[in-house]
Structure formats: C-alpha cells, structure tokens
Symmetry: C2
Subunit: 585 residues, 2 copies
C-alpha cells in the first residue's frame, strides 16, 4: 500500500521525509521546486528535513495532533461516509448567517459539542453557521486568526474528522457552513513555511505580520497554496462558503488579483460539484469592485462584509462616537447606509484622515451582497473589555438592533449568543506557550488601550485562562425570562423575514428611510412593509403607513395606532408593520 | 497690486512667508491645513518658514532660478501671448511620437534651441514630441526623473517662459506635446515636501525612493497636489498629453485609483478647453485595466507603453537573451506581440519568477492604446554603456526595427536621433552637487553592472561631465550618407503610414504574422499591405502576397519578385508591399 508524499521546497538542495519511529527517506527533486518520494508502508506521523534542518511539519498538513511544532499526521478526507450526501447547497441570497467560535460556543469547545447545539440554530431559523478560523495554531485556545497551518483543523476542536462530522450534521439540519479563512498573514509562532519556500513578502507587512508573497518571485506556487486551500474546504469538507479575512491586507499587484483567480476557480468547482459555493470578503476598502462580476471588471466575489452598517447602528443606539464611529453620528448616516449600502462611498473619513470608498451602483448591485451585523467577534472582542451590546443597551434597544439587521436590506449575520442577549463578554484571549510571546501579547494589548485612555486594570489579560473561560457562552441563562424573551423576538423576526418577500427584496430602491425630528425616530420601509423605531426615551407619535402590526417590542399592547397615519410608540420601541391585506402563509 | 500667497502645511503651528530682501510675513491658518497671506507689493522671490525652519521653496513653485534649494520665483502663466491660439489639439490615435531629452537634444540643451529643430521633426513627419521630465531637479543636468519640484520648469532648460514658447512653437508647426511626469517618488536632494506635510508614504518604497502618500492620512491633499500638477501642464502650458512615469510604483489601495481620478479630471478639462487631452501610462503591469474605459471597469487612461514589443524586436534583431529578454527568444514572441499586444498576458516570466500579465480583449481594445518603440531613453540609457541599436546592428537591421515599429499596429515612438542612426550613445548621467550623493550614485551604478559581470571601467561614471556631453546629439553627422539614407528611409516609412489606412487600422485582427522556417523571416500583414522581413544573413525566397513594392532596404533593386507568390530578399532586408491596385494619393 504505497503512498506518494510531495512537498514544495524550491530553494532546497536536499529534502528528506521523516517518518515517526521509522527513520527518514531521501526525496527526489521534481520540476518547479517540488520533491517527491514513494513510501511502501502506510504513513502516519511525518515531517520534512530541509537541507538537514527540521523536521518541520508539512505545509499542507491536514492534522497536527501534537501541536504546530510537532509532526504532521496523514488524514484522508475520502474515508468519511457522508450521511447527508443529498445536500444540494444553499445560496447566500436571502439567507441569515450565524457566526460562532468553536472554542467558546459550548463549554466543551469542540466541533462535536457545537453540533449538539444545532437544534437551537434550527429553531432560531438561521441558514448558515460561520465558523471563526479552525486552522492549526500554537497553543490550546485563541480566536483563530494566528493560524500557521492553513490546511489543518485545530486538534483541540477535534481535528479534521470532527470537522467532517460537523459539516455533515449541519447539512442534515438544512444549515450551510461558512468557513472563515485567513490568507493575509501567518501567526507569530509555528510558521515554518519560510523554511520551505518564499511564502512571505519580505518587503510588505500589515498590522498582524509579514504579508504573503502574492506577486514576487515564486509567488505562483504561493497563490496555488492559497487557492488549493480554499478549494480543500469547499471540496473535501463540503463547506458551502468561505469568509476571506481582511482582503485589504492582500498585497497583490498582478493584473489578475488573487481574489479574481479564486473566484474563477471556485466557480469551476461549483459547476463540478453541482452546489452553490460562495465567497464572502471581509474588506475595509468600501470598493464595489470586489463584489462586481468579473465580466463587468470586478473581482467576482459573491459578497462582502460592510462595517458601515454596524457603525451606523452602533452609534444610533449607543451614542458612542470615538474612533471610527465619529463620522456616523447623525442618524442620516444610518439612512444612507440602509438606502445605499456604503456610508463611506467617497466621503471624508475622519478616522482615516482622508476620503474613503466608492458608491455602489445601486441600480445593478443586489443588496444581499453586503453582509451586515450589529455585533460580531471583532466589534465585540476588540473593545477593551469585550463587552457585548447587551451590557450597554436595554432590551428594547437590542430588539431595535436586531430588527434593523434582520429585516433590513442586507444579508444579516448574528454573533453567537446575541440572540438571547448573552451576559458573557467575548474577550481577546490567547494561549501562547512561549513566555516571551505571551508577555509581549499581553503587554501590547494593554498598551493599545492605555493609549486610548483605558485603565490597564480594566483590560483583561489575554493570556489569563479566566479571560477565555469568561468568554464561553452560558447556555443555562436561556432559562431566564429576559433572555428567553429576546430569543423569542429574534425567532419571530427571522420568521417574518422568511414569510414576507419584502424583507429579502434584493433591490436597493425597495428600501427608503424617514427620519424624525432630532433623530428621535426612524421608519425603514421595505416595499409595503415598515419597521418603525423610536430611538428616544420618550413616548412619541410617529407617522407610519397603514399596515398590520406583526411584531413589536416592548410587548404587544405598548404600540398603538392612533390614526390611519400614525402610531404611538413608547420610549425605546420597535414595531413591524406589513401590508394589512396580506395573510400570513 | 496685492497678491495672495497660500501653502499647505497641516501639521505646522506657524508658517511665515519670506520675501527676498523684504523680511517675512506671518501667514494665517485656514481650514484643512492651508496657510494664507495677502501681500501688498508684487512678490518675486519667496519661500516659507515652517515652525521657524527654512526658508523652504514653495511646493507649488513654478520657477527655481537659484536651484531647488533656493527661493522660489513667482511666475504667472497668464502673461504669455500665445501665437498659435487656434491649435485644436491632436489625438494619439494614428499618431507617431518622438521622445527627446531637452538637455541632450541640442548642444545648447534648452527649450529654445530644441524649438529650432522643429523643421527636422516636421520633415520627419512626427505628430507629437515627448519631453523627458522638465521639472526642477538638483544640479545642472540629469535625465529628469529625480525631480523635487514638480510644478517648476528646470531653469537650465529656460524655465517656465521658455516652456510656453516651446509648446507654442510646436503647435505652430502642427506638432503636439507630450510631457513625461513623475508621481511615484521624489529625487534624493532638494525634497522639502516632508517639511510641509505628509507627502510621503512612510511604510512603502520603490527602487527610486519612498512612495508617495496616496492612501494614508492627509493623502487627499497629496492627490490634489498630483492632479493639480497634471492639469497645470495641460491647461497653463497647453500640453496635449502626459506620459505618467512608472505607474506600477503608485501605491494606492483606494477604491478609486489615483489614475482613474486623474482620467476623470483630465476628461473634464478636455471638455472645458475643447482640445483632446491624452494620458499615457508607463506600466510594467501588463494590465489592460489601465487602458480600459471607466464605464467598463477600467482606469480610463488613453494609452500605455508596452515594453513587450521592444523586447521582442530587440531579441529578434540582436539575439540578446539576458535578463528580461530571456522569454522573448523565439520569433513567435514577436508574432504574439504583433497580433495580441502583450507577450506576457498571463504567461510565465522567468525574469520575474512568476506568471505575469493578462490578455488584452482584442475584440474591443484599439491597437493604438499601446505605445511601442524599438529604442527609448530607458532601453538605451539603462544599458551599461548607453549604446544605441546603431552600434550593435547593421543599417538594414535598423531599417527592419523601424518598419516593424512605424508600420506595425501600435502607436510608434522614436527616440531622438534614432531616425538617422545617431552614433552618439545616450548614457546615464547625473550632476549631484553634494559629494556624498555624487559618489554614492556613481558607485551604485558601477556596482549594479559589476554584479552582471561588467568591467567597472566599461561603465561610464554618471557624474563625469564627459558622460553627459558624450550623450548630446551630433547633428552634423546628418551630412554623412549613412545617416542621411537612414533618415530618408524613416521619412518614407512615416509617409507610407500616413498614406495607407491599413497602417493605422486600430483593429487587432487587421494584423497577422507568418514566420519562416527557423525564424529566418517574417511577413507582417496589415490588412492588404505586407511588411516582408528577412532576418537572416542569407538571401531567401519568401512567400509574399501580390502587391506593389513601395519601399525596401537595401535600396530598390535588391528585393525582386520571383513569382506571383514569392519575393527574393537579400540577407537582412525589409520590403513594404501595398495593394497593387491602390494609387498613392
């Protein structure tokens, strides 16, 4: 039972395969920097010696049971018997995404224990789960963005076999899987890629590390490494979509951008596997080119995150105006976002000290290409104390945020626990085993917030295990009425979204927003439906169209129609009106 | 007669206007980092003190009569009385460009003396002259790419008034002016811009210096500085086109690239002044997006240089295959270039160690958008000894290069003196007054070629005045028959190009190329016309279509038709055939 082992090491003059407990084998040089050897026995744990140094793990390792510094273990994804082979995929148009972090979603922090919570997600009504990066990183727990072996599934989550079971279980419940993948940098420990080849761009960096070599000598194979990785998730693990981390940090001067190349290859795989496959970028560029079809001069991605929605909602509800929130102060910012997608569409960004972005062609672009949220891992976790909206706002304000997100024109994404106003924070946590790195990480975090005026004692130590444990969802709080009520409201919002076509209408011009005096209220019209919001603490009469009151917060009696053109709204309230002639199906 | 003086210095807490011999005046802070003062008397020489340091020249200085470290002199472009006000401009489509360097075009090295040579250019038949950068630089002579005051015209060339006279004289003779402008870096001496504001990108550089800040804080005004400069040449000096140096070194992550912004503003100015205004990029990207209309997702530039043509012709004639010439070895490279524009259209570039470029949409793109040459300032001057093709090839081979360039499908550009096979080299010369910089420049140049195996003694010292003087054209050699004959051949090629529409047909599919066995010959068909080339040293019979022999090299008797389908061509020869039924107009 011979196995062929290959590795790319273009500058090496000698490469050996090391087999755990079975010595090493010289590898044969092949064209274009590849090395190859055929092994008679079954390979289990292995690594490579490059010019005598090592052994290093396989850059394309699927499994690192002994951590990122240890040997790699062979994993054959073909062995798994898929239970839900009939899964035909799911499109992001019209869908709702639920973002979760495997390590803190459940007390066990594994893929298998996450799968045990699928009943909750099915009852909630979400269409996709989106997993924070699961690739192999150094330590036992962290957010996942400092991965160093992009092809491996973190062993602490259960490794690659558990990943297959998780995706299969999701598909069995009608839920698609979005995998968050990071191609813009590598983590600070366990990155042995430079031992093998020119994976890094020596001349460019970003806030998280050196840039990846996308356009220098040897970059053809580095691009292949990235694209093969993306295709791996979609093909071998049957993932339905990828969320591409921070694409603005991909430094690529080539005439065909990596993202376009990836879109073309993903499209080809989609045709081959006969499932929709979706690419979603996280982008700070406010550049519609990313989500414009290739035929129209774009990069051909399906969707992108739009932070402007988050910022506009956050400022409208919290009144916070520091940092990048500054420009979003008047409620007209939220109106602009809801009607035109980007707030920064060429407008001045005081946070950046320059104009920023470009308008969306609202005549042509479907609204679902923007993925929005009122909370996500970054917006919560990058606050000094990792505090959620639920610790700042009252429940009615949480309900307003939910309604604007779920019944607004874009693709909504929830962050785990948001749906019940989880009391747990979601803090920045790391587990670097190296003392120096551990200390530098903690000191860096504290210094970052000290510069913004925070008391160092108010910033949790990322290396303290308690910081991680504090961030784990407490599912038992669902038995408390406050949390159960909010969860029920989220469920009803999602049901309304599915029931009325107005809420998934992809045309920008199906949404118009009216603002009240002094930004006290807003009405978001979605076709013939309306979401009426009282942002103020006072009872107000708000001009609102006719319509059937489908849902409101606070509970039903609180919002009353006072005339055919107005409703009375208590302070901090939200009401959903739909065409009165419409009978729910 | 009051004058308003303004300058941008956003970080300064105090800015003063210094008037030569008349003390200084405090300036008033205005919004967005501008400072302003109204001076009662006429301002002549002036500078600025920034927080007490200086005086520094005006970043927007039009004239530096005492060099780049000295005070600026006011220059009002409105004072000039244009003699050729009726000039309605010229489009680059169908045109021929002539590249020249003011300092070495004539012995005097001035704009006025260059204007004295316009008879020569009119007789040659070129449509545009293209001036190497004329902006203010440190020292008395250099190529012009190390400018530090982009708004000023180098005083040694005659300053801004002479520039207006030169453009006016060109227009009077029916010749348009292309100005080469550099926006990707600043020269190593005399750059006081950082004293005023965040003009430079601290995080990025290119081979020539720090990058310009196009997307960081404060970059709105830096972009304005560039765009206003471009518009200055086009409006105040009535330049017809700009050649944008090395646009691949513009580091711009914004959703609207600087080049697109510039294209939009140039288009607006064109509508206002009612003249065609043209933007031509020098680009190493082989990216059709640059010259794709904005409506189709491009940057909307009019044209770009394409080095692939140069490399393919150079290799076909010289056999040199070192460095970036390596991939162009077989004659099929030239065929591909002539038929499809880019050789590197996604193909592997061994010089870059990666795949490079993207195909042109040959169904839609007009061929004239590529500006090509068989010699230019870079391709000559960046050789160790600055040797022209005329020192390597025989005259017939020069004639072949000329015919492929002038009668090929693209926009031809000649380099001054090429048309008579000038015997003078065009070497890398500098005149840094600072000893350290002078020594570093010379040592760097010699070391660069030593790495490629050159004897240091064979590399001219760029600081040696003889290197500069050696590069000045010797017009008297035009009296020698060898040079006069080649010049006459160039004239006739250009006349043919103007006489037969085939040669300016902008459709890619109007050009097809046939290659002979062992790459000995090629026939470039341009519609019903043909250019037949024998690249070998042997007499050959070449399959050639019917047609009238319009022009050949060597002289007329040497090329003979042996049958209705073949011509006999002596070694190293070129013949131009046009439809025989066509009567020259």
């Amino acid at each position: 039972m011979a196995e062929l082992v290959r590795v790319w090491a273009p500058a090496a003059s000698r490469v050996e395969l090391v087999l755990d407990g079975a010595g090493s084998r010289a590898m044969r040089a092949e064209p274009e920097g590849w090395w190859c050897v055929c092994v008679e026995d079954r390979v289990t744990d292995y690594g490579f010696l490059v010019d005598g140094a090592g052994p290093f793990p396989d850059p394309r390792s699927r499994w690192q049971p002994k951590g990122v510094h240890g040997l790699s273990r062979r994993f054959d994804p073909e062995h798994y018997q898929w239970q839900h082979d009939a899964w035909t995929g799911r499109r992001v148009a019209g869908a709702i995404i639920y973002e979760l972090h495997i390590g803190t979603f459940t007390p066990d922090g594994t893929l298998d224990s996450a799968a045990d919570k699928l009943d909750h997600l099915v009852a909630l009504g979400v269409d996709f789960v989106e997993l924070l990066p699961v690739n192999a990183f150094n330590g036992t727990h962290n957010w996942g963005y400092d991965g160093v072996l992009w092809y491996a599934v973190h062993d602490g989550y259960g490794g690659p076999a558990a990943y297959q079971r998780f995706v299969d279980a999701c598909h069995g419940r009608g839920i698609g899987v979005v995998q968050d993948v990071v191609y813009n940098h590598l983590g600070p420990s366990g990155n042995y890629l430079p031992k093998f080849g020119p994976y890094l761009n020596e001349d460019a960096g970003n806030p998280w590390g050196q840039s990846v070599n996308l356009d220098g000598p040897g970059s053809d194979e580095v691009r292949r490494y990235i694209i093969d990785n993306a295709l791996m998730w979609l093909r071998d693990y049957r993932v339905d979509a990828l969320r591409l981390d921070a694409v603005h940090a991909l430094t690529d001067s080539r005439a065909t951008h990596l993202l376009e190349e990836l879109a073309v290859e993903t499209e080809a795989l989609s045709a081959s596997v006969q499932r929709p496959l979706t690419l979603i970028a996280e982008s700070d560029l406010n550049d519609p080119r990313l989500i414009t079809p290739i035929e129209a001069g774009g990069f051909g991605l399906d969707a992108q995150w739009s932070d402007d929605f988050h910022h506009a909602v956050h400022v409208a509800l919290t009144g916070e105006t520091s940092g990048y929130y500054a420009d979003f102060e008047p409620l007209s910012a939220l109106k602009k976002v809801l009607e035109r997608g980007f707030f920064h569409d060429g407008s001045y960004s005081s946070f950046r000290g320059r104009h920023h972005g470009r308008p969306i062609d609202t005549e042509r672009m479907p609204t679902w290409r923007l993925v929005v949220n009122s909370q996500n891992h970054d917006q919560i976790g990058n606050r000094a104390a990792g505090d959620r909206l639920s610790s700042i706002l009252d429940d009615a304000q949480l309900a307003i945020a939910a309604a604007l997100t779920i019944l607004g024109p874009f693709t909504p994404m929830l962050f785990m626990g948001e749906e019940w106003g989880a009391s747990t924070p979601w803090q920045f946590f790391t587990s670097h085993p190296e003392v120096d790195l551990a200390e530098a990480t903690a000191a860096g975090r504290i210094a970052e917030f000290a510069r913004m005026g925070w008391d160092p004692d108010a910033v949790p130590d990322p290396q303290d295990p308690a910081t991680f444990e504090r961030s784990i969802l407490q599912w038992d709080e669902l038995s408390e009425p406050r949390h159960a009520d909010l969860l029920e409201f989220y469920r009803e919002l999602i049901q309304l979204r599915h029931r009325f076509d107005e809420f998934t209408d992809p045309r920008f011009d199906s949404t118009t927003v009216e603002l009240g005096d002094q930004d006290q209220w807003l009405v978001m019209r979605r076709g013939a439906a309306s979401i009426v919001v009282n942002l103020s603490a006072d009872t107000l009469e708000v001009a609102a169209p006719r319509g059937q009151l489908q849902l409101c917060w606070p509970d039903n009696g609180s919002v009353t129609r006072v005339s055919s053109t107005a409703v009375r709204m208590p302070g901090h309230s939200i009401a959903v009106l739909t065409p009165s002639e419409r009978t729910p199906q």
